[in-house]
């Protein structure tokens, strides 16, 4: 018995020490290894980004002997990806050295102190002059410092199937000028081409930010100036007619069964479903979606190779509600490469950002990822201009594209909009009720900094 006691105590000590040091081991890691976190598509067939990051990482290792890049692809839906990287960035033990950030969330992460300002590096970097001013602004915090380097942007518009349009007797060079004209075309298709979904507008919580940006805000921004946030008073806007009208549009689409079946529209898989099934299988006539869609149909790394799409699909700008100037609406977003504050190797991480943004690699990404270029030299590159049919159309929308309110609370406001959309789409609430519920929730999210507009 007496011999057991010291042994037990020793075991306890060894165990405790072992586990404690095991925790510590992962912390700093190797000084020469960079950890890079980025999202991996939930569809395993889509490897566009993985392939590109891998390509750049290997080139970086070759150019910097002794340095290693460890890739951390995170396979999750968009919202889960954000939560995951935020958790990783909170602790120096888990923080990656480079992280791929959606501009939708970057201000929230800047406010949380998760990211590192890059101004000292940018000041010494000649290529920064090539970036469009709007793109530079995308990753600027409220403190005026820049926290990320964008590698592309995106714009939004209507994709339509010319074959279906022909069957319905609609023009092949369709240019709707008002919401009513969009709905009228959808009704014609419903009447003349049965078995086809006339119009898809992403909605609800399942599609997350895709529904709010491609769906709701494309509508809302066409109803008038500053319908979401008023920069003059720095307050969030409640009670507008534009908000209700946008919800009313959704009710028309889903109430008249012009859109996908409601149960499909609200499912989290709807985005993949639209891009890899409904569109290539010619089951969807009009889709309000982003410029990157062609990425899904690339012969290599795409989720659903579809060689005929350039001839089948047409593109049109999304109109403002009643055709008010400039007649069309688009929103721009995009992603940036950022360095977490807890990164142990910021200098090396910056070097990798530079590698990502050599002109050669930037063109490579814009071509592979169906991105809209944010650099002037890339936008003028013939390889880029010829990369995807329609890229000139979507690049042309950059001029009129507007941005979401780049504020830390935006992601929460977005979640509240998604709930309002879901309530209207499922028929649980009228547009007026859903708008009222949103106004209430908004007041608590932004601590009462709201202003009522008619």
């Amino acid at each position: 018995m007496r011999r057991i006691a010291p042994m037990a105590l020793l075991t306890a000590a060894v165990l405790a020490a072992g586990t404690l040091t095991a925790c510590g081991d992962g912390s700093g890691g190797d000084r020469n290894t960079l950890k890079v976190a980025f999202p991996k598509d939930t569809n395993n067939k889509v490897t566009v980004r993985d392939d590109y990051v891998e390509l750049v990482a290997r080139a970086f290792e070759k150019a910097n002997p002794g340095k290693k890049v460890k890739l951390i692809p995170i396979q999750a839906s968009e919202n889960d990806y954000y939560a995951k990287i935020q958790q990783m960035m909170r602790s120096p033990k888990t923080a990656p050295d480079l992280v791929y950030e959606d501009t939708f969330l970057i201000n929230s992460d800047i406010a949380a102190g998760l990211l590192r300002p890059l101004d000292p590096y940018l000041a010494k970097w000649a290529d920064w002059k090539q970036f469009e001013p709007a793109a530079k602004a995308a990753a600027r915090g409220q403190d005026g410092r820049t926290y990320g380097v964008p590698d592309g942007t995106d714009t939004r518009g209507l994709w339509f199937n010319k074959k279906i349009f022909k069957k319905a007797g609609l023009p092949q060079d369709w240019r709707p000028r008002t919401w009513d004209e969009v709905l009228a075309a959808a009704r014609t298709i419903k009447r003349k081409v049965p078995g086809v979904i006339p119009l898809n507008v992403f909605t609800g919580k399942g599609a997350g930010e895709a529904a709010v940006m491609q769906g709701f805000e494309m509508l809302l921004y066409g109803t008038g100036q500053d319908q979401l946030y008023d920069p003059a008073t720095k307050k969030w806007v409640t009670g507008t007619k534009g908000f209700r009208d946008s919800l009313e549009f959704l009710r028309t689409v889903y109430g008249e069964k012009l859109g996908p079946d409601v149960s499909d529209a609200l499912s989290p898989n709807i985005q993949t479903n639209v891009a890899t099934e409904l569109m290539p299988e010619q089951k969807l006539a009009i889709n309000l979606d982003g410029s990157w869609l062609g990425q899904q149909w690339q012969p290599k790394g795409g989720g659903k190779p579809w060689p005929e799409w350039p001839t089948v699909l047409g593109r049109a700008a999304f109109p403002t509600q009643h055709g008010a100037a400039p007649g069309k609406v688009s929103l721009a977003g995009g992603w940036t490469w950022s360095v977490p504050r807890q990164s142990q190797r910021p200098d090396l991480a910056w070097k990798l950002i530079e590698t990502f943004q050599t002109k050669h690699n930037a063109v490579e990404w814009c071509v592979r990822g169906a991105q809209i270029a944010v650099r002037k030299d890339v936008a003028a590159d013939p390889a880029y201009l010829k990369s995807l049919p329609g890229i000139d159309f979507f690049t042309g929308l950059v001029k009129i594209s507007r941005y979401r309110p780049a504020l830390p609370v935006y992601p929460k406001v977005s979640a509240a909009i998604g709930e309002a959309m879901e309530a209207v789409t499922s028929g649980d609430a009228s547009p007026q009720q859903a708008a009222d519920a949103y106004d209430e929730q908004l007041k608590s999210i932004v601590d009462g900094r709201t202003v009522a507009k008619p």
Partner: protein
């Protein structure tokens, strides 16, 4: 066993006090590693959670965290979404654990006692497979079963019955069924063991005395396995209260919030809305719900027949 051991040491240790204390210490020492580990890895995180529940910690959007007292709890009780989640959690637990897994497990165990050996083996294997599958895999399996183009609708179509999107029209029942499917094996095993313990003579003599099958079940079998019922109900309920992966894979709490039980609501608040403090407070409230259930079951266990 412990009492006997203590008695033995007690007699041996008669005499000097310090020696007895040393021996007492010595007796505790084998527990030391476990105690240290428990404190470090179990009590530590729980304590930290309790602390977070009283702060306004966020995942993103604000840098500093401050103490807010009971604000998170007040917010929960004024939040219709929270109350909705509590109701759905109770429905989910009642339907899938107490009615579903428990009753079905007992029925299966009773039937299998009479079944032939091959039938018993086969049924056991099938039910156990469902239990062995990881929760998330079971979730995806049942998603493909209930989905609009899934197996269930294919069967219904074949029978010329109307089909519908079950995950949209009856989400809470669909996930409850999924949980029954997954968790029945556990109840079945517990009840199989309990039923095997009942002495044959008792039921046989009751049968000789003219007791019907139902009377035997009600007056003999159930009272004799009462303790197993209590234990099983408690374990089932606690496990069901914390089901997350299954629901997340099948419906993500939707459509709207029609299958948003407390764990899903917690995840939504903490990680999607980044309100870590509020989410943790909800987690503590879930702990309270679990504790309440346990107290009820423990009381049932304590009463003698």
């Amino acid at each position: 066993m412990t009492r006997a051991a203590t008695a033995a040491y007690g007699t041996a240790g008669r005499g000097a006090r310090p020696r007895r204390r040393a021996r007492a210490l010595l007796r505790w020492s084998p527990l030391a590693p476990a105690t240290v580990l428990l404190l470090l890895f179990l009590a530590g995180p729980i304590g930290y959670c309790v602390y977070i529940a009283f702060t306004d910690m966020q995942l993103t959007g604000q840098e500093s965290t401050s103490f807010v007292g009971l604000a998170n709890f007040r917010r929960a009780f004024g939040d219709p979404a929270f109350l909705n989640a509590v109701v759905l959690t109770l429905v989910f637990t009642l339907v899938s654990s107490i009615l579903g897994q428990n009753t079905l497990g007992l029925a299966l165990a009773a039937l299998m006692r009479r079944a032939s050996r091959p039938v018993r083996t086969l049924t056991g294997a099938v039910v156990l497979t469902a239990w062995v599958l990881p929760e998330i895999v079971a979730g995806f399996l049942l998603y493909t079963f209930f989905e609009r183009r899934g197996t269930l609708n294919a069967v219904l179509e074949w029978l010329h019955l109307p089909t519908q999107n079950w995950l949209f029209t009856l989400p809470i029942l669909a996930v409850s069924f999924a949980n029954v499917w997954r968790g029945t094996a556990f109840s079945m095993l517990i009840y199989s063991a309990a039923l095997a313990e009942i002495p044959q003579e008792v039921t046989e003599s009751a049968a000789v005395d003219g007791a019907s099958g139902r009377q035997r079940l009600w007056h003999i079998t159930l009272p004799m396995i009462r303790r197993s019922i209590g234990t099983n109900l408690m374990l089932n309920t606690l496990q069901t209260l914390s089901v997350f992966g299954l629901i997340w894979a099948m419906t993500r709490g939707g459509p709207g919030s029609r299958s948003q039980t407390l764990p899903v609501f917690m995840y939504d608040q903490a990680f999607l809305k980044s309100l870590i403090g509020y989410g943790t407070a909800v987690a503590l409230l879930l702990l309270v719900v679990g504790a309440l259930f346990s107290v009820v079951y423990l009381r049932l266990l304590r009463e003698e027949v």
